[in-house]
C-alpha cells in the first residue's frame, strides 16, 4: 500500500491511523529555529467521526487508506443491509446499520447518496442535502394559519420527525434539509 509523508498531508487526504481509516483535517508545520521540525496534525476517524490530534516528526509517514466517495442510488433495505447501486457501473453494495447510522431516517428509494467506501466496503452514508418526503403522521392542520409560528411535529415516510408549520396536512409532500433536520417548504 502507498504511504504518505507529512509533506503530503493536506485536508481531505485519506490515511490509516490506529488501524482505522481517517481523513486529514489540518496539518500545522512547527519548528524551533534551531531544532526538530514537527507536524501537528488533526485527523478525523472515518469510522467514529471523532477528530484526533497527533504529532509527527516532519518526514514521518502514514499508510494510505483506500477510501473513496461514490454517488450511489439507494435501492432498498432488507432489514439487515441497506442496498445501494452505482448508477454508472450498476455495481451494488450493501451497507450495514453501523455504516448507515442516523442517515437511515432520510433514505428514500431512488435518492442519490454519497457512499464512502473503505477497501470496497461502505464505511458511511451521507444523504442528499435536501430530500422530498411524504408526511405519514401529524396533527390535523389549522386552516388559515400561515404564520408558521410554533409548528408541530410530523413523522415522514422514512421515519424522520421534523417540525412543520401548523397549516401542513397529513399526506403532503415536503422538502427538508437533512443536515439541520429542518423543514424547508411544501414540495
Amino acid at each position: 500500500m502507498a504511504t504518505y509523508s507529512t509533506n503530503d498531508f493536506k485536508a481531505g487526504l485519506k490515511v490509516m491511523i490506529d488501524g482505522s481509516p481517517g481523513a486529514v483535517v489540518e496539518n500545522e508545520f512547527v519548528k524551533p529555529g534551531k531544532g526538530q521540525a514537527f507536524n501537528r496534525v488533526k485527523i478525523r476517524n472515518l469510522k467514529t467521526g471523532r477528530i484526533i490530534e497527533r504529532t509527527f516528526k516532519s518526514g514521518d509517514t502514514l499508510e494510505a487508506a483506500d477510501v473513496v466517495d461514490v454517488e450511489m442510488q439507494f435501492l432498498y433495505n432488507d432489514g439487515e443491509f441497506f442496498h445501494f447501486m452505482n448508477p454508472a457501473s450498476f455495481e451494488q453494495f450493501g451497507a450495514d446499520k453501523t455504516a448507515v447510522g442516523d442517515t437511515a431516517k432520510w433514505l428514500k428509494e431512488q435518492d442519490l447518496c454519497t457512499i464512502t467506501l473503505w477497501n470496497g466496503v461502505p464505511l458511511s452514508v451521507e444523504p442528499p442535502h435536501t430530500v422530498t418526503l411524504k408526511i405519514v403522521e401529524t396533527d390535523p392542520g389549522v386552516r388559515g394559519d400561515t404564520s408558521g409560528g410554533g409548528g408541530k411535529p410530523a413523522t415522514l415516510e422514512t421515519g424522520a420527525v421534523v417540525r412543520v408549520p401548523l397549516f401542513i396536512q397529513n399526506g403532503e409532500m415536503i422538502k427538508c434539509n437533512t443536515r439541520t433536520g429542518e423543514y424547508i417548504s411544501r414540495a
Binding site: 512547527v30 534551531k34 526538530q36 504529532t55
Partner: protein
C-alpha cells in the same frame, strides 16, 4: 487562497502591509545608524553550507568563467559565517538585512525564503544583546503594539513553570513522562532516544503558546546540547549562552554569545556531520574559511538573527506569514 491558476498574479499581502514593511525597514536602519552599527552585505551563494542537522540548504549550480567545469553553491540559511569573517577582519559591530533560504520549511510561520535581520555587537555578551534585541523590537513595534514590560526566563525556569521538570537534569524517561502527561500524541522513536527531540516537543507544544503574551518574553541559557554556535558557560550546570525572543507565542529571534574557539567550532562541525550521517541527511562542506577566521581571532561578541516577516506579522496582528509577504512560495 485559491489553488494555482494563471490568474493569481496579484500580491497576497495588502499594499498597506507592504508599505508598512518598507517603513519598518527604515526604522530598523535608523536604529542601527543611531548606534553606529555598520550595514553590510555578504554573499547568498557559498561553497560551504550550514552543518546544523536542523537546516536544509538549497543548492544551485554555476558554470562559466571562474569555474569552467561548473561549481555547486549552497544558498545561505543565514549570513552568520561571512559576517563573522568580517568581525574577525576588524569590521566592528555590523548588521545585515537579507533574504535567506531554508529547504523543507513551509507553514503558517514558515516560507522557504524569508527576510532575516542579523546583527553582531562587539564586546556584548548574550544578556546584553538580549536587552538590545528587546529594545529594538519594542521600538520597531511602537505605535503598532502596546507591550507590557518584558519578561526574562531561563530555559530552565520556563520548563519548571510550565512542564514541572528541570530540562537540564531530566533524563530521557523523565522528559518522555512529561510529554505523556501533557497529552502530546506522538509515537516516540525508541531506537534513537534523543532527549532534545522531547525538549523541542515540550517547548513547541506546551511552552511556546505561553510565551510573549502581551509582552516580549526572552528565553535564555539553553541546554548545552542545543548550543549551536553559542558559548558554553562554566556554571553548574553549564548552559549554552543563547537566547530567543517570543511575542504572541511566536519565536522571533535567536541569539548567541558567540563561540570564538576555533578548535571547539571544528568539533561542533564534526559532531553535526556525524549526526547528519546517522540520520541519513547529506553531509555538506563545512566552512573552512570560518575556522580560519576564528583562528585569526574573532572579537568577543554576541549576534542575533530576527525574522523580519514575523515582526511585520506581529505589527499588523496577522495570523499567517502569507499576510505580510507579497508573493509567498506558492505564487512566486
Amino acid at each position: 487562497m485559491t489553488p494555482d491558476t494563471a490568474g493569481d498574479w496579484q500580491p497576497v499581502a495588502k499594499l498597506d502591509v507592504l508599505r508598512l514593511r518598507a517603513r519598518l525597514l527604515e526604522r530598523i536602519r535608523a536604529f542601527f545608524t543611531a548606534r553606529a552599527v555598520l550595514e553590510v552585505e555578504t554573499p547568498v551563494f557559498s561553497s560551504a553550507a550550514a552543518t546544523d542537522p536542523a537546516l536544509l540548504s538549497f543548492t544551485t549550480h554555476y558554470s562559466g568563467p571562474l569555474f569552467p567545469r561548473g561549481h555547486n553553491f549552497f544558498c545561505h540559511t543565514s549570513p552568520e559565517f561571512p559576517m563573522k569573517r568580517l568581525l574577525a577582519a576588524g569590521s566592528g559591530s555590523i548588521y545585515q538585512i537579507c533574504k535567506v533560504f531554508r529547504n523543507g520549511e513551509s507553514g503558517r510561520l514558515h516560507n522557504p525564503e524569508f527576510t532575516l535581520l542579523e546583527w553582531y555587537r562587539v564586546g556584548f555578551d548574550h544578556r546584553q544583546l538580549m536587552d538590545e534585541a528587546i529594545t529594538l523590537v519594542t521600538e520597531i513595534l511602537a505605535g503598532h503594539r502596546m507591550l507590557a514590560s518584558p519578561e526574562k526566563l531561563t530555559y530552565r525556569e520556563a520548563f519548571e513553570r510550565y512542564c514541572g521538570i528541570d530540562p537540564h537534569a531530566a533524563d530521557y524517561q523523565t522528559l518522555a513522562d512529561a510529554v505523556l502527561r501533557h497529552a502530546i500524541q506522538i509515537d516516540l522513536d525508541t531506537q534513537h532516544q534523543n532527549p532534545d527531540v522531547l525538549r523541542d516537543l515540550l517547548l513547541t507544544h506546551v511552552i511556546e503558546a505561553r510565551l510573549g503574551c502581551g509582552q516580549i518574553t526572552a528565553l535564555y541559557d539553553y541546554p548545552v546540547s542545543q548550543a549551536a554556535l553559542a558559548r558554553i558557560s562554566t556554571g553548574n550546570p553549564p548552559v549554552a549562552e543563547r537566547f530567543e525572543l517570543y511575542l504572541d507565542g511566536i519565536e522571533l529571534a535567536n541569539g548567541f554569545h558567540e563561540l570564538t574557539d576555533a578548535a571547539e567550532q571544528q568539533r561542533r562541525f564534526e559532531h553535526d556531520q556525524a549526526r547528519r550521517k546517522a540520520t541519513g541527511l547529506p553531509v555538506v562542506p563545512a566552512d573552512e574559511r570560518l575556522l580560519s577566521a576564528l583562528r585569526a581571532g574573532l572579537p568577543e561578541s554576541a549576534g542575533v538573527a530576527l525574522g523580519f516577516d514575523r515582526l511585520v506579522m506581529l505589527a499588523v496582528g496577522a495570523k499567517n506569514l502569507r499576510e505580510v509577504m507579497a508573493f509567498p512560495a506558492d505564487c512566486a
